[in-house]
């Protein structure tokens, strides 16, 4: 535990001192004779403080694990990788100026994306205006892909509205007597969270599952009991939450207190975090969530990533770290294929074209992208079964069978 804390402290100090540590802790990165270019500098702004600090740090760790492994393999095109982090404090204005200065002042070779759709859009605008390739780990909302970006790629299996695709298929294939008839939706007012819940809502509604509650709550909401009261009054067969952590816990607790007993409960982000079962006590059992990554999967590099993460940071890798790592894998593959890593238009164009046409083996599985930068795969569905997180959908990835209807909470 002490080591974890020390590591975390060092990381936070590095983050605070911005580039200072990145520059000093790699003596080998100094220019060697015969190679006047120096290290490959990669500029990244992340929400290391503020609302998104927790996932922001996860992404940062993923980037660090990737850089560590690339450097162990000899770097990108024989040059060491140096990550330059900025902290945007979850502020969309700061994320823009961070990327401006990374590109113009620090003269980075590449940029990687920040966390959350809200920060990805302003960041991608800057990258686009300087003609930089922009692979990002966490901008899944539909809006991200409607801005006309030509150099943006989302390095995860699916955009928000496709997260629940496997679950929608499963529900719609149930025999008529078991098939749910009514569903309640509650979502945080956030493009990503809403995107996930509405993707499922629209598919089920089109197939005749009636929407009986459709509630949106602002991020300031602290009390979920009245929302649960509305859901209780409608007695739905399904409860679906477009949630992050605090609200997923708030909703589960409130639904439990108000004795709402749906046949199936699905929440997008909260249940995927390790803190969830303790926060809701026994109520986690049989809750479903879409998940883009699994620590047990055997996709390219996954087991090495999980192992190295543990060595560097002490804890278990999570989905955020995996998403950061995935960005690195894709860009690394592109750089090695086109043999250049300059901030020039020609080189960035070549990298962009390569990513648009290829399929990339990553820790979240093989990824390919459509012309807007949307990934073309789908998320797995996880469920708490006997207190353990199991992958229950799709069939070919499952570690346990889906439990339906769920037990009472």
């Amino acid at each position: 535990m002490a080591r974890v804390r020390t590591t975390l402290t060092i990381i936070s100090i590095c983050a605070l001192a911005l580039t200072a540590c990145a520059k000093t802790d790699e003596p080998g990165a100094a220019q060697s004779p015969g190679q006047q270019q120096g290290p490959v500098k990669i500029g990244i702004s992340l929400p290391l403080t503020g609302d998104f600090s927790e996932p922001g740090k996860g992404i940062q760790e993923g980037y660090q694990v990737w850089a560590d492994q690339v450097n162990a393999r000899g770097g990108l095109l024989g040059r060491k990788v140096e990550l330059i982090f900025r902290d945007d404090a979850s502020d969309p204005n700061r994320v823009s100026s961070d990327y401006e200065s990374l590109i113009t002042q620090d003269k980075v070779n590449l940029v990687f994306g920040p966390f959350s759709s809200r920060l990805v859009i302003p960041a991608a605008k800057v990258a686009e205006s300087y003609g930089m390739l922009f692979v990002e780990p966490a901008g899944a909302a539909a809006e991200v892909f409607e801005q006309g970006f030509t150099r943006l790629f989302y390095a995860a299996p699916a955009i928000a509205s496709d997260h629940y695709n496997y679950l929608a298929d499963y529900i719609l294939k149930l025999p008529a007597d078991q098939r749910p008839k009514t569903a309640a939706y509650a979502s945080l007012d956030d493009p990503f969270a809403q995107g996930t819940a509405y993707g499922l809502r629209d598919k089920l509604a089109a197939a005749g599952v009636k929407t009986v509650v459709d509630e949106v709550y602002p991020p300031e909401t602290t009390d979920f009991a009245p929302i649960a009261a509305k859901i209780a009054a409608a007695k739905p067969d399904l409860v679906v939450g477009g949630t992050q952590f605090e609200d997923s816990v708030g909703l589960v607790r409130a639904l439990q207190e108000l004795k709402v007993q749906p046949k199936l409960a699905a929440f997008s982000t909260g249940p995927t975090l390790a803190e969830f079962p303790a926060a809701v006590k026994g109520a986690a059992e049989h809750i479903l969530s879409p998940v883009g990554w699994s620590s047990t999967a055997t996709f390219t590099g996954n087991q090495e990533m999980v192992k190295r993460y543990k060595e560097l940071f002490g804890g278990e890798a999570n989905e955020d770290a995996a998403n950061g790592y995935t960005v690195g894998q894709i860009v690394e593959a592109a750089v090695n294929a086109v043999k250049c890593v300059d901030p020039t238009k020609e080189c960035q164009d070549k990298l962009t074209q390569h990513i648009r046409q290829g399929t990339f083996d990553t820790v979240v599985g093989p990824l390919s992208f459509d012309d807007k930068g949307r990934p073309e795969q789908a998320h797995m569905i996880q469920q708490y079964v006997n207190g353990k997180v199991e992958i229950v959908l799709p069939e070919q990835a499952k570690t346990a069978s889906i439990v339906y209807p769920k037990q009472e909470w």
């Binding site: 007012d189 602002p218 300031e220 009261a229």
Partner: protein, 293 residues
């Protein structure tokens, strides 16, 4: 529909009680010292974290952390007032106190992030996830507990303010500082203790919050707007006004939530704040009593 309204009403009253507890400290600081204490919610979550530590290391009920946190927070309050607030220039105290306490809030947030990391913490008790059913209305135990603790704390606070010599000195200081000093009240010391009492309520509020919601270092920001709205509607400086406004706003929030939606419910705080400033800037309940209790 009727039962849903009743449910919303009942939940609103219970939540309003909690709001009253959380806002009482804020009202006290303003009443005693004209200090706008932006860091109050940060202290609430500091208390929540301490409760978490006591609960996880000793394995005891979260409320057993109170004998530790309440005196600690009282001492902390006296120290903050004597070492920091008392040094601010009296001319623009209200404004400078916002800046100072904003800094304190950021410091607490940073320290919590360093010591506890940014991940979510929670204190879940078995008894906090069940509810009492009366007719068709469910009353969650965690909210009943929060309401009861709030009621008890506020009752103690009133008893202290009305019955004790310290309370009388505090009220005299609030009513007229110069006059209080003339009759021999050591207003500086009283102000320090007043601040301590305010933070002691934060210790209680933090424990209750820990029981009902998960938290991370930046959690306090969503509370400051709500709590400020409550004390302005209630009449700045009036503890009774704050309590009444808290219950009123809790009920409005609960009812609007079940009849309209959550976005409107959250907005009601600011609608009431706006209306109050337009119609009765001194607050609806405190009014001319705002300077007293």
């Amino acid at each position: 529909m009727v039962s849903l309204l009743l449910q919303g009403l009942a939940l609103g009253v219970l939540t309003g009680g909690l709001y009253a507890l959380l806002a009482s400290g804020l009202s006290l600081y303003f009443g005693v010292m004209r200090v706008v204490m932006v860091a109050h919610p940060a202290f609430l979550f500091l208390a929540a974290y301490l409760t978490y530590t006591v609960h996880t290391t000793l394995g005891v009920d979260p409320f057993l952390a109170l004998p530790l946190t309440v005196p600690l927070f009282f001492a902390l309050g006296v120290a903050v007032q004597r070492l920091l607030i008392a040094r601010l220039a009296p001319d623009n105290l209200a404004m400078m106190s916002v800046l100072l306490t904003f800094g304190i809030a950021l410091t607490i947030e940073g320290l919590l992030g360093t010591f506890y990391t940014g991940s979510y913490k929670s204190v879940s008790m078995e008894y906090a996830t069940r509810s009492l059913s009366l007719g068709g209305v469910h009353l969650p135990y965690d909210k009943i507990i929060a309401f009861a603790v709030a009621g008890l704390t506020l009752a103690v606070l009133f008893a202290v303010l009305v019955k004790s010599r310290f309370g009388q000195a505090l009220r005299a200081t609030i009513q007229h500082r110069e006059a209080a000093r003339l009759v021999g009240i050591r207003t500086e010391r009283v102000a320090g203790y007043g601040f301590g009492v305010g933070l002691a309520t934060a210790a209680v509020g933090g424990t209750v919050l820990a029981l009902i919601t998960p938290f991370f270092p930046a959690s306090h920001w969503v509370w400051i707007g709500k709590l400020m709205a409550i004390i302005v509607v209630g009449g700045l400086g009036s503890v009774v006004g704050a309590a009444l406004a808290a219950v009123l706003l809790g009920v409005v929030e609960g009812v609007v939530l079940v009849t309209v939606d959550a976005t409107w419910a959250t907005m009601m705080f600011y609608v009431f704040l706006f209306l109050t400033l337009l119609a009765r800037p001194q607050g609806f309940f405190g009014g001319r009593l705002a300077h007293r209790f």
